[in-house]
C-alpha cells in the first residue's frame, strides 16, 4: 500500500531560462519508512457560505502522526476564492482552479482545517471544493 504525491512547476518565461521543478514523494508515517495506510478518499462539497466551515476536524491524537491534506477549488471563476484557515490562522486563498497539498499536524482539537467562500454571494453560484486526507491513526491500526 502506497500513496505518492507528485508536483510539477513549470514556466517558460518567469525567468531568463525555463524553470521546471518536479518532485515526487511517497507518503510515510511519522519518522518511519512505513507507508501511510489510511485515506478519507476524495470528497466533494459545494460551498455557499462566507462563514468558516470545518472541512477537516482535528483529532488531537494526530499531533505526532503524519497526515497530508489536498484541497482544490474547482470553480471556473478565477475571482472566486476560498479562505483556508487552521485554528483561525489564515493560511491563504485558493482562487478558482488553485489547489494545496500540505502536511497537517493536528496539534490540538482546535486545529481544524476550515474554509470560507469569502466573496461568495447568492449570485456567484456555489464553489465546488474537493479534498482528500491521507493519514495514520492510533485507533485504527491497519498496517503491521
Amino acid at each position: 500500500m502506497a500513496t505518492t504525491a507528485t508536483l510539477t512547476l513549470a514556466s517558460a518565461d518567469i525567468a531568463g531560462d525555463p524553470v521546471s521543478v518536479s518532485k515526487i514523494a511517497t507518503l510515510t508515517k511519522a519518522g518511519s519508512t512505513n507507508d501511510l495506510d489510511q485515506s478519507s478518499g476524495l470528497n466533494r462539497v459545494h460551498l455557499r457560505s462566507t462563514a468558516n466551515k470545518v472541512l477537516l476536524a482535528a483529532n488531537a491524537e494526530g499531533s505526532d502522526l503524519a497526515a497530508k491534506v489536498y484541497i482544490i477549488n474547482k470553480s471556473d471563476d478565477a475571482s472566486l476564492y476560498l479562505t483556508v484557515t487552521i485554528n483561525a490562522q489564515t493560511i491563504g486563498k485558493l482562487y478558482g482552479g488553485d489547489f494545496l497539498f500540505i502536511p497537517w499536524s493536528q496539534t490540538d482539537i482546535h486545529a481544524n482545517i476550515e474554509v470560507a467562500a469569502t466573496n461568495w454571494t447568492s449570485s456567484t453560484g456555489d464553489i465546488p471544493v474537493e479534498y482528500a486526507l491521507f493519514h495514520e491513526d492510533t485507533d485504527f491500526l491497519t498496517n503491521a
Partner: protein
C-alpha cells in the same frame, strides 16, 4: 506577465479501489487570469533546532503568493515543523503549526502574505530546506 503552471498528481492504493487525482492550474495574481511574474528560489542549510523565519512577508510585495517547501533529506527521522504566524521582535512567536515535513516530503500552498512562514528543524545536524515563492 509570465505563464507558470503547477500540476499535482496523487496516486493511492490504500483503498481497495485505487485513487488517482491529477490537476493543473496556472499561477495567477489574486482573482485574475494574469500570471504571476516573480519567483524566488532558495536553498538553506540549517544547523540548529531553533525556529527560523524562513519566508518573511517583507520578501513579497503582493497579498497573494504560492509557496513550495521541500525537505530533501533521506533520513526519515529528520523533519521540519512548519508554522505560520506573527513573527515577534527578533524571534517568531504566536505561530500556528501547519504540519511536519518528513524526509522527502514537500508542501504546496497559497499564502496570503499576512504572516511569516517559519520552520523548526528536528535536529541540530545540518538539515537542508528548499523553498520557492511565486507572486
Amino acid at each position: 506577465m509570465a505563464t507558470t503552471n503547477a500540476t499535482i498528481g496523487l496516486a493511492s492504493d490504500v483503498t481497495d479501489s485505487s485513487l488517482s487525482i491529477s490537476n493543473s492550474t496556472q499561477l495567477n495574481t489574486a482573482g485574475t487570469t494574469t500570471g504571476v511574474n516573480t519567483m524566488t528560489s532558495v536553498t538553506k542549510v540549517l544547523a540548529s533546532t531553533d525556529q527560523v523565519d524562513l519566508i518573511t512577508t517583507s520578501s513579497v510585495s503582493t497579498t497573494h503568493a504560492y509557496v513550495y517547501i521541500n525537505n530533501p533529506s533521506t533520513d526519515e527521522t529528520k523533519y521540519f515543523t512548519v508554522t505560520i504566524g506573527n513573527a515577534g521582535a527578533g524571534s517568531p512567536t504566536d505561530t500556528e503549526e501547519i504540519g511536519r515535513l518528513y524526509a522527502g516530503d514537500f508542501m504546496w500552498m497559497p499564502w496570503d502574505v499576512d504572516d511569516d512562514i517559519c520552520v523548526t528543524p528536528s535536529s541540530s545536524d545540518d538539515m537542508t530546506v528548499e523553498y520557492m515563492v511565486f507572486s
